[in-house]
Symmetry: C2
Subunit: 284 residues, 2 copies
DNA sequence: GTTCCGCATGAATCGATAG
DNA sequence: ACTATCGATTCATGCGGAA
């Protein structure tokens, strides 16, 4: 039974306090990056980022189930010619709080646009930090198996490497269908590097991450009817995907304009459920 | 003019002291990972790793030129179900020494070690931490340009005006990336994600990393006749490649058996220079 | 001379067992 | 209780031999 998503307009620092202890199976979020969305979120300065986040992660530690998982999508900015250290300092601070730093996944952004700076290349990856409350946690590895790599040797030899990797892209034209033919063949477990396009399907608003990113972790760490929390909802990608996957959703967003977008996108989903579920099945 | 590689048998902690200040253009090294090569290197315990490395990085800071670069290939182990924090603590410690943490490249290992565990997937990436002495450093970006991939070719073809507008609005920095500038170009700059396979199958000496890894950074950060240092030479991949690329080489290795392998491989190179240069040109 | 198949081999990690 | 060792698990790669 699917419940209506619980989308909350408010400051997550306050709203999280209203959530019960040990009630969340998965937290997936992409907090506002330091100093980037200055005009929208008030712009947390990199030097203050850890102090700003630690009270929030303390609440997250309280509300997550003992066998739940927290996935934090984050990447440090280059400040003054250096990578800033607030992310790695945050890891150390959260461990002091009691979080276990279980793993670090890499999101390799395949299709970011070319760019040039005198002293660095395009940043094509982000961290997906996995934190847990305990060493034992739920993980459904079979839910994210991928086709065995041998196909590159045998069948798709003529295709270029970039073409072969395009299986993750949503624009399932062309080779997407070819790959689906091989899915039934043999499946292997993936690695801790995710190849995903940055493209977002939503035409109106650009999300911070593609829907396949939360989708992958929701599959990996939750079952249907589990509860997914995103304390920095943004335009609502996590909530939309989780709802689509028959998970319970709690989302918190401080900005009315983003909240409105998220709310509408989830409402659309509820109204058009049959169609969208069909599409989702097709894309699998 | 190429000089004979200066390969030194000894403890780099001592041998580094004999190298002149501000004399090295690029340091590329892959130190023994914590607790791994126990049988060979004596196995630095993860908890002691930072204390062990800091005196070495202090020497490296002394010998590197003001506009030189230090690339550190490293990855934390999983200890007790968690990723250990010695790598991120090392970054903080080296910054206190005066190093700038300029960038973090990702080496995505296409063929990583197999295995299955209840709580994690296979580890398919390693860090390539870039440190510099000053904000201004030498970087020859054109030397590592890559042919534009098929994906971006098709993407650029289909690029609509709204796509450009949306992208400019997204980063909002006013640094509008004019995509049309890239149409028709043969070569583009790479990103900070490197996609390489490990060379696990070389008969005699299986290197920790493929030769294309040091090759890429040597191209990026040095010119011919510059000096490359590897204080943990191992089987000598860095020295071999640097010598092949007409760079001066200093390599330090503490273990006689590895030292011997490195020495022989570089000697082979010197004797068969014409052939190997031919091969190297062909592989480019 | 090609292509194909079999096979050994890794910067691994966990859990159990032994001292 | 804490540390050290060992077996089981798993897959991309490149070599060598065979068709």
């Amino acid at each position: 039974m699917k419940t209506t998503p619980n989308l909350i307009l408010g400051d997550c620092q306050e709203e999280l306090k209203k959530i019960a202890d040990n009630s969340i199976d998965l937290i997936f979020t992409s907090p506002p990056y330091a100093d980037s969305r200055k005009h929208t979120y008030g712009g947390v300065h990199p030097d203050n980022y850890v102090d700003w986040f630690v009270p929030i992660s303390e609440q997250l530690l309280r509300v997550i189930k003992p066998d739940g998982t927290f996935i934090l999508n984050i990447k440090e900015k280059a400040v003054n010619g250096e990578r800033h250290t607030y992310v790695i300092e945050l890891i150390l601070a959260m461990r002091k709080q009691g979080w276990l730093w279980t793993e670090e996944f890499i999101w390799h952004k395949k299709n970011c646009y070319p760019g040039k700076w005198p002293n660095r290349f395009r940043d094509a990856w982000e961290r997906l930090l996995q934190f847990n409350k305990n060493k034992q946690f739920k993980m459904y590895q079979d839910a994210v198996k991928i086709p065995v790599g041998n196909w590159s040797k045998t069948r798709l030899k003529n295709l270029s490497e970039t073409d072969q990797i395009r299986d993750n892209a949503k624009n399932g034209s062309g080779f997407g269908k070819n790959i689906s033919n091989w899915v039934g063949r043999e499946l292997v477990y993936p690695t801790n590097v995710l190849h995903l396009a940055t493209e977002c399907n939503n035409k109106q608003h650009s999300a911070a991450f593609p829907s396949s990113l939360p989708e992958w972790f929701i599959n990996l760490f939750t079952l249907e009817n589990d509860t997914v929390l995103d304390p920095f909802l943004g335009s609502g990608t996590t909530a939309f995907v989780a709802q689509q996957m028959n998970r319970n959703v709690i989302g918190i967003e401080i900005l009315p304009e983003y909240y409105k977008i998220a709310k509408e996108s989830v409402n659309d989903l509820n109204n058009q459920l049959p169609l969208l579920q069909l599409l989702s099945n097709e894309s699998n």
